[in-house]
Amino acid sequence: MLDRRLGSMITVAIAAAAVGAVISASITQTSGQAPASRPARVDGKPNLSGIWQANNEANWDLQAHAALPAAVTQPGVYSYDYARVPAAPVLALGAAGAVPGSLGVVQGDGQIPYKPEALLIKKANADHWIDRDPELKCYLPGIPRAMYMPYPFQITQGTNKVHIAYEFSNTARTIHLDEVVGPPDDTWMGHSVGRWDGDTLVVDVTNFNDRTWFDRAGNFHSDALHVVERFSLMSTDIIWYEATMEDPKVFTQPWRIAMPLYRRVEPNMQLLEFRCNEFVEEFMYGNLRKQPLVKHWESDTMTVDITRKIPPGDSFYEWYR
């Protein structure tokens, strides 16, 4: 079931889960707030219900990567790629706009097996991240990306459906455990049909469009994408999640990602709203305002006015007085 090569990672995760469980139990006792009843099994199957979240860098880049000064960079004083500096759109964020490094979640040799022509598109995507990444427009994130974005999601495991509600963009998908054939149309979140393979929930996801990405690094797919996911409960508070991607238009062979998903064990945890299409109105439509607020356009060129006034007492030297 689980990849043996991942043994050490799993052990660490189990240890983390054990610690989590202890903390959670003590908090529950002291706060006196009764958690909702959560039996270990629902209708004879492992109970995946609850609020979960990935805790990794996969949404930045599924593949191994060193930390970067920013998601958008420009040449610095040197011509070397490794000496680039943050570019204007994210400059004002300082270290909060930087990209954390990661060993990656792609299994095997860690590479996504792009066809040569597709690899060129991936690289162009990365260069045009701000213009192309659907996440920035608050578009539906697709599967598997919704599973490892830095937002919680809630699984409600019923008898013939497993519903997953995602905090990001207030979206969701229903995994049909009863056979429901796919729509005669493509979708952003895919059409999910699940079955139990022993204690593992296996979900077949089809009917994708070609608009969603895998991460902020420009990794993409076509409308021929077919995803097979595996959800295995490693402990009460950890799901081992795997997804195998197959897309003969873009990849030379199927490839697989794997990661733990952690239960949000805070006793008061609940999904809140992240209705980001409101947040991106200036980003999307700022150029259509009668009176520009933040950015303005000359033909296809956008100018963003970055005004950063340093309040008295907050300048660099004043901090060290």
Binding site: L140, G158, T159, H163, P183, K290
Partner: protein
């Protein structure tokens, strides 16, 4: 990709409000199916896709005072009248503003059969929304006045079309009020598109979620319920796929802190016998339901009444707006999974070409007016949908 909002700019919000995207297809239960109304863990089973299959007046017309239900003859009469309205060509004079949107509305408008009740409102007993408070009346009047000023010089007001509402025609545009901000955060269509915030919430893909009475949105709404021990998820499909999610908190904990405000509020539920009771507070001040915003308090009662039906009773309370609480009752009918497999993916902003197009067209009109090539945009109605009123909702 579907450009589901790319039709007539003017008709867009009408369509957005008028139809849910899910296909209406009732389940026909075979006699072999046992009506098991409990989940394996013993809770009442509310699971499935549910909708209201009929249209009911929101408030009771004075014509039916003391009459809670229509007679069959009255239902038939309404069905007949309304079906003729939909079938006809609603277009206005060729090339007029009304022409384009009339044709669009004719395609997108949807009506269902007339239901049994003479009003969705079951309390107060007269079936009508209670009077609003003086404060709420004052706010509503200021809002109306602002909107009417932007409309006053249009043909819509000259011809006294429904889009002019209670406004009056004045051939002189209200130039002095052109750049005025609305009296409070805007939630509805206005005859100006200077910025995204001038748009109606539905046009911005920010449709309010609750309360959801279907008819209040002008047509269909669908909800899928999935249950697990101690948890309930409700996925809504409303107004052209503007779906949204509710995860009902079932652990008897108190509502969110008052400082956290949400578009869809904060839903906390518990079982009272066979009824799921959900208490909803913490609404955002950007919501607007008939004048009620952050002080709205909604209490919903969901009861499975038969294998194919679910009763929904919701009480609305906001002492800053209504002089007393009022209650709506609806009966949902279970819908086919197979027929509805296509559209419960909530997508809206992904294909919302109509909204930026409205602003883009407005900038074009601004330019033409400034350069002396076009008339003042205030003469033109870019707000009302020219929709025919539903005689059932008068």
């Amino acid at each position: 990709m579907r450009d589901r909002l790319s039709g007539s700019m003017i008709g867009m919000a009408i369509a957005a409000a008028a139809i849910g995207a899910v296909i209406w297809a009732p389940i026909t239960r075979t006699s072999a199916q046992a009506p098991d109304l409990k989940t394996p863990w013993g809770e009442p089973d509310l699971q499935g896709i549910w909708t209201v299959e009929t249209d009911t007046p929101f408030q009771r017309s004075p014509k039916y005072t003391n009459q809670e239900f229509f007679t069959e003859a009255q239902q038939e009469e309404f069905d007949k009248l309304r079906s003729t309205l939909r079938g006809r060509d609603n277009r206005g004079d060729r090339g007029s503003e009304r022409d384009v949107s009339g044709a669009y509305n004719n395609v997108f408008g949807a009506l269902k059969r007339t239901g049994k009740r003479t009003s969705l409102i079951v309390d107060p007993p007269d079936g009508r929304i209670p009077p609003t408070t003086p404060q709420a009346q004052k706010i509503a009047a200021a809002d109306r006045d602002f909107r009417n000023a932007l409309m006053q010089a249009t043909q819509t007001c000259k011809l006294k079309l429904p889009g002019c509402a209670d406004g009056k025609y004045d051939p002189t545009p209200a130039v002095a009020r052109r750049d005025e901000l609305p009296p409070r955060y805007n939630t509805a269509r206005m005859n100006r598109h200077d910025r995204p915030e001038d748009g109606a919430l539905a046009d911005r893909c920010l449709t309010i979620g609750l309360p959801e009475f279907g008819a209040g949105n002008g047509g269909g709404s669908f909800r899928r319920i999935v249950q697990t021990p101690g948890g309930i998820a409700i996925a809504y499909d409303v107004g052209q796929g503007q779906g949204w999610q509710r995860s009902i908190v079932m652990n008897r904990s108190p509502h969110l802190p008052a400082g956290i405000r949400q578009w869809f509020g904060d839903s906390r539920g518990h079982w009272e016998g066979n009824t799921l009771v959900i208490d909803v507070t913490n609404f955002s001040p950007k919501n607007d339901y008939r004048g009620s915003r952050e002080n709205l308090h909604l209490v919903e009662r969901w009861t499975r009444t038969s294998p194919t039906t679910l009763e929904y009773v919701a009480t609305n309370e906001d002492p800053t707006v209504w002089t007393r609480p009022w209650t709506v009752s609806q009966e949902f009918t279970r819908q086919s999974e197979e027929e509805n497999r296509i559209y419960y993916e909530p997508r809206c902003v992904e294909g919302n070409i109509g909204f930026p197009s409205m602003m883009k067209a407005a900038r074009q009109e601004d330019r033409e007016f400034a350069e002396g090539r076009g008339s003042d945009p205030l003469f033109k109605d870019n707000a009302s949908g020219f929709a025919e009123p539903d005689p059932l909702q008068e």
